[in-house]
Subunit: 498 residues, 2 copies
């Protein structure tokens, strides 16, 4: 046959192939004015799954705006697959009660959403995943996202979106990169439209279907609310000193080591306390990973670490740093922590310093359920970094509000004890017996080393052994391990009244 370019194409080639039919017109317009229109154009229907990121943390407006429009349209039975949810999303509680939202998959749950899940109001069993577990589940197809709604501080009209610029600066859009690649439809929601091309893009226009421009995507004050100040609490400084001495005396303290510290007071202080040891030993660290804070960026500026690799900006200082320091890099959460790709950055971590709500005598850590059994936390990158790093250090006071932190059995296992190496409390430290290398390395360190059972006994002596929480049989949430298997289940606490 003759094709549209008037060339003779033999019929036998056209069994599995088409002949050229001409060049289609390109649709270049992605801008739409209302979230409602985006929802309709994406064909969102009952039973579908939508996704969000949590880079705007307590300042986020996007989740509530989108779900409100979905509810107004009468669409029901929606599952939210978010990188995390927090107090900003309390209004979602009522949409759980009215059946608009029937499934929640997230790292963090707090406030009204945590209560709604814990009290059994969510129709489907919630799924709690680590950051690495979420990106794995999406990349492996265990979760299919129908429509991703991605709040972006800046976007051009074609959907190249960035975490910086505009009035709702959040530094990076790492959590959303996988959503943009895997969701059927991708909607950018921005309050700052910029000229094409908005480069280098965190989210690429090639993945974006629509761009919605709204007045405000968040409250800038709450997006970077926690201008982190270094602790002056002597108890925290003491724990930071223990952490630092554990690091310095371990076999991994050598030129080119890598580290991650969370946002807790003691963890942050480690960034400062490390400096004299680095100077004395002439050591330059290879990379700082995270969850990035200003103290880590200061180490970069001062030449103590070669680069900072950022999957989430925790404070204003880290956002300034990624704008200005060419050795401060944005990564996807797949690069950060997916346990099933060919090698995430967490696998290359030497040290990570993390917090805990509870730790039990098997070194299991709980960072997700409170002492009342209610969901009010987030595994985040905790299991990912503990698992990937050569030395994971958990910092927590021995007792909090007369409740022992070290106990016989945590309410929920969010990080299995087999990947938890050292527990640091204000009354002493305990090394996981599996880590004979660390026990040997620290034996002459003059650190106050106890067994985990001794720490538990001290805590119980101070507060008494707490009564065991009671739960109903109903499982309200599954706590997934990084690889998708069931690490623990969360049941509805007994006698709980809202």
């Amino acid at each position: 046959m003759l094709n549209k370019a008037l060339r003779e194409i033999p019929d036998e080639l056209l069994i599995n192939r088409r002949a050229f039919q001409g060049t289609p017109n390109q649709e270049n317009d992605k801008i739409i004015s209302f979230i409602r229109e985006a929802i309709l154009k994406c064909g969102l229907k009952d039973g579908m799954t939508i996704s969000f990121h949590h880079h705007f943390r307590d300042g986020d407006y996007v989740v509530n705006m989108v779900v409100e429009e979905i509810a107004k349209l009468g669409i029901k039975d929606i599952t939210i697959c978010a990188s995390s949810l927090g107090d900003a999303h309390d209004p979602i509680g009522k949409y759980i009660e009215n059946g608009t939202i029937t499934g929640i998959q997230t790292s963090g749950v707090r406030g009204k959403i945590g209560e709604a899940i814990s009290t059994g109001k969510l129709k489907k069993t919630a799924i709690i995943r680590s950051h690495g577990g979420r990106v794995r589940a999406i990349e492996e197809g265990e979760v299919h996202i129908d429509v991703a709604f991605i709040g972006a501080p800046t976007s051009d009209p074609y959907g190249n979106a960035r975490g910086i610029g505009g009035k709702s600066d959040c530094g990076v859009l790492s959590y959303s990169m996988v959503d943009a690649k895997y969701a059927d439809k991708v909607v950018i929601i921005t309050d700052c439209l910029v000229d094409y091309p908005n480069f280098p893009p965190s989210i690429q226009a090639v993945d974006v279907d629509y761009v919605v421009v709204v007045d405000e995507i968040g409250d800038p004050k709450k997006i970077v609310s926690n201008i982190i100040r270094l602790t002056s609490d002597p108890r925290e400084l003491m724990m930071a000193d223990y952490c630092t001495r554990i690091m310095v005396n371990s076999p991994f303290f050598k030129d080119g080591f890598s580290f991650q510290t969370g946002g807790g007071g003691a963890a942050l202080a480690v960034n400062l306390l490390l400096r004299p040891y680095l100077e004395k030993a002439g050591i330059i660290m290879s990379f700082a990973l995270g969850g990035i804070t200003k103290p880590m960026c200061d180490l970069l500026d001062d030449g103590f670490v070669k680069c900072v690799v950022n999957a989430q900006a925790f404070d204003a200082g880290s956002i300034e740093s990624i704008k200005n320091n060419p050795n401060h890099f944005e990564i996807s959460t797949s690069q950060y922590a997916n346990p099933r790709n060919n090698g995430a950055l967490v696998n290359k971590l030497d040290f990570v310093i993390l917090g805990a709500l509870e730790v039990d005598v098997n070194f299991n850590v709980n960072v997700v359920t409170g002492s009342d059994g209610i969901l009010r936390g987030a595994p985040g990158g905790h299991p990912d970094t503990a698992s990937g790093s050569k030395c994971s250090i958990i910092v927590a006071p021995l007792v909090r509000s007369r409740i022992p932190t070290i106990c016989d059995r945590v309410v929920t296992v969010t990080t299995p004890g087999e990947v938890v190496d050292v527990i640091v409390t204000d009354y002493g430290i305990a090394i996981n017996p599996l880590r004979k290398d660390l026990i040997e390395a620290l034996k002459d360190s003059k650190l106050p080393i106890y067994t985990i059972e001794e720490l538990r006994d001290m805590a119980y002596e101070m507060c008494g052994k707490p009564e065991q929480l009671e739960f109903e049989d109903k499982v309200v949430a599954i706590l997934e391990s990084r690889d998708g298997s069931i690490l623990d289940v969360i049941r509805k606490p007994k006698l709980y009244e809202i």
Copy 2:
């Protein structure tokens, strides 16, 4: 049941899910010493497809090294899916003859490979694709790459690879990004191993299986052989002047316009000739796309364009620029030109200036077969940019070596006339009658405007009408349109003797 963390998991949850079984050890070592070992570890077998990029152009050693090892192992019936192949790959000719290589999918074919295909020695029909067409075919699953072999100027031991650094600097690794994401196995081949993390990576470690360190991946002199000098040929300068005046008089010459120029003498000169017009009109261009050359980078340095977006570095100057200018960005070929994603950069091009071997009276362009009908060219980004841009300008001398460039019918259609807007020759220009807007805009421009038939007649008058080439029925290659349909077929020329 009790899982490995000693938590009770209800059986009813374990119908579609597994219980936690413990944390596997991570395999962190990807370094291997020999290409042969990489081939074996990847499980390469008869009939599989392997891929390569052409960022090292005439200096590439990688394709030949890999195919030689495959041949030594006795593996047969391999298809090469390369972004392009060139004269550096003449040794592949003998592996086509001995059945090691039986399929070739590429943009460019030259030298011995072109001859082998044209003379019917390749067992399977070759497939010629544009750069955008290749990435589309991979992303849509029309081609499945079993093993991607990616030559990289630098890599860390975990496979974070970059186009810059080391001794075989090629600027970017854009063509390989899709291979890294879609191939079953990915092998980085480098001659410069650097410390982890090699950031920001062009190819991410998360996609890489093995890293092979060899002595040399290419000949640096030939990788950037064409230190492009601006033409002093008055015929080329005249054509450049025509191009520039077409641009300036078109409706698209306004603040924020975008452009791409190829590596030809006239096209390059346009970068210089544009300057006074930009200055006079107070116009700053938004982006330069390509195939990047130093004259485009000079426009960036001098503030005439806001950013340079690079899918291939054509010369040493462009490599220096991407290292040093923060507004010079590397992109994937999916971002560059995939016609089927949600919007490549070519769709946002205002102007593109391209070359041609032949143009016919239907404005069809041939850039792939010579006047003897033998394959010796590459569609490259030609059909992508012509199709995406608002104004595509083809520059070619009216006659080359006594062969008319403008003719009744091109040997092969590589870019369909419907997306070709203006033909510029040294004897005058022709505007595609479809582009009434351009005809109107240029009618008072004093440019020497003819019909395409008049240009053809001039050419035929000078050289005589060339005899029609004769072909056998056998189709040796399919010329795919950007969307995968058959734009044209390439047949075996009659009476061809090697």
